[in-house]
Amino acid sequence: MSQPNAAAPPAARLPTSERVLNAYVIAVLVFLALPVFIVVPLAFSDDVSLSFPPRGFSLRWFANILERPEFGRAFALSAAIAIFATIVALTAGTLAALGLVRHRFPGRDATVTFFMTPLIFPAIVLGAALALMLSPLGLLRSFWGLALAHVVLTFPYVLRTALATLSEIDRALAEAAYTLGANRWKTFRHVTLPLMRPGLLAGATFALIVSFDEFTISMFLVGPGMMTLPLEMYNYAEFSLDPTIAAISTILLIITSVAIIVIEKLVGLGKQFS
């Protein structure tokens, strides 16, 4: 405190409307976070059934994950698919955003809307459509078919953040770089890309999470010996409803949180110079 002697402000009395609003916001947050508060304790339960509140303490459900190789395989597949899809979507999304923001052409808005359709399309329809499309190509139930589907799925997330970031960047910056002797590539490399980085990181985070979490569409495209983690979890839960699922969820929760914190740090740093 710079002024330790300053009189304390009168006790804050919020108007009723504001207190109601605060209560509402807290209620919504609790509701959103509730699954987390239930799932994490369950993962450490000693009970064989998924019932709340948990009884006892045990790590055996985590041990159970390790004993079942299908979870490891599914995790590896999901991670590979998510990383592949994100890299492709990030590249394609950045290039598409550059074209869409820097050039005016007829049908531009329609193109943007078209690229965004996977966001609003019912997943079940998209899944069926992708299955129908990949089947004649011989890509159904293959890694590449699944990866391609995830590119389609994650692309709009990357494109959306890339478009938002790019349209915030003053066009004159690229032009200034041109007049200073930087050709298009150097301008992109030294000016545009660094300025887009926070947005691209945010888009990539979304893409990773969306891909890793994807259930409905993958369901149409996976096959025996090729299961994504959410599907493997679902299969397991169909037969044995024990806290193993909660244990996996807890691990995923930790991984996601760490990823988001790391990226928020990076993005936060990026925001400093704007």
Binding site: D170, A172, L173, E175, A176, A177, Y178, T179, L180, G181, A182, N183, K186, H190, V191, P194, L195, F273, S274
Partner: protein
């Protein structure tokens, strides 16, 4: 000290240059030859095509017709990054993710110069714009005037052939703007670089330019030295723009040589020398600067005396403007410095005033429209 070898300085030549934006003809056939080392100001109202012309010289827009040469090179199809120009943008366009040093170094880095040379040149340029020691800051940590200087340093450090400035001082306050005008002029002289400066501020153009190019609706309407343009505007448009705010209607009675006798709407008769392009019977406008209208001129000073009633007084600090009805509703504005600072001693509305017009400060233009 960054200094172009004078023999390195190159001119810029625009010939019949046109630019369309969709169905808008933004620049309609501009021809302009800029000498090596010269400083030219493009002056004109908003939307007259100044920026577009500058951007075409920079290569940021392609002309739809006509030729642009920098030195002997036809640059119509040359990319901006190959033109060796320096440009200062209206909002400076400093790279926000780089330090001031990195910003200024950018052009040299892109030219793959050795690090030692870059450092020395950047420090030199920073000193020239009096920003030594600011290298580690981010542009966001600078004031408007400092950003402007960084932009200038960044543009000159590469020793460009041509320096292009698009209203670089528009965002600064009056005092800083005037200071920067002097600095830019000194820098331009010192470096000896061919410069095109865009402004819509006539005073700025008069202060800075070797030559002023006045534009109207995508065309050049007058080219001349500051004194030329200031004293001898060629059209009503230019005269208006350059501060001839008085316009009194009239009719040409007779023309003898280049002297026209004009009967004004206020009922006065004036012989105006140097009235070109008018013939007896023409409807004309007489224009004159308020500061050229004498108040209460001494007898026998050779000027035409008109009398009228003061209808309106505008006090504006250093000077006061007197709006005088010189007859039949024709208003003549006279300006006088507030020498004694005695605003209370100013004549009040309704007072009778004698005004003196010196014929050779009055210009005659055919009535527009």
């Amino acid at each position: 000290m960054i200094k172009a070898n004078p023999s390195d300085a190159v001119g810029v030549d625009l010939r019949d240059v046109q630019k369309w934006y969709g169905s808008v003809l933004a620049v309609r056939g501009v021809s302009l030859a800029i000498a090596p080392g010269e400083m030219v100001c493009l002056l004109g109202p908003s939307g007259c095509g100044k920026t577009t012309t500058l951007r075409m010289i920079a290569g940021l827009e392609k002309p739809d017709a006509g030729d642009i040469r920098i030195g002997d090179t036809l640059v119509n199809a040359v990319s901006p990054w190959k033109r060796n120009i320096g440009m200062v943008f209206q909002n400076y366009a400093l790279f926000p993710h780089m330090t001031v040093h990195e910003n200024v170094a950018f052009g040299l880095t892109m030219r793959n110069r050795p690090a030692g040379e870059i450092r020395a040149a950047v420090e030199d340029a920073m000193a020239q714009v009096r920003l030594a020691g600011y290298g580690d800051r981010r542009p966001s940590q600078l004031s408007g005037g400092q950003r402007q200087r960084v932009a200038l340093a960044r543009a000159i450090v590469t020793k460009p052939n041509v320096l292009l400035l698009d209203e670089p001082l528009a965002a600064l306050d009056k005092k800083l703007r005037e200071q920067m005008q002097v600095e830019i002029r000194q820098l331009q002289r010192a470096v000896g670089i061919t410069t095109v400066f865009v402004t819509h501020d006539q005073e700025e153009a008069l202060t800075l330019a070797d030559r002023i190019v006045v534009m109207e609706e995508g065309q050049i309407v007058q080219i001349g030295s500051p004194a030329d343009v200031y004293e001898r505007p060629k059209s009503r448009f230019v005269s208006d723009f350059i501060g001839f705010t008085n316009a009194v209607g009239g009719k040409v009675v007779s023309v003898t040589g280049t002297t026209a006798r004009i009967e004004t709407a206020s009922g006065h008769s004036l012989d105006i020398p140097g009235a070109e392009g008018v013939a007896a019977g023409d409807e004309v406008d007489l224009v004159v600067r308020p500061e050229k209208v004498a108040i209460d001129p001494p007898e026998g000073s050779g000027c035409v005396v008109v009398e009228g009633d003061l209808v309106h007084t505008v006090y504006s600090g250093a000077v006061t403007y007197f709006h005088v009805d010189i007859g039949r509703g024709a208003i003549l504005i006279a300006m006088a410095p507030n020498a004694h600072g005695a605003a209370s001693a100013l004549p009040t509305s309704g007072a009778r005033l004698r005004l003196g017009l010196t014929p050779d400060t009055v210009l005659v233009f055919p009535r527009r429209g």
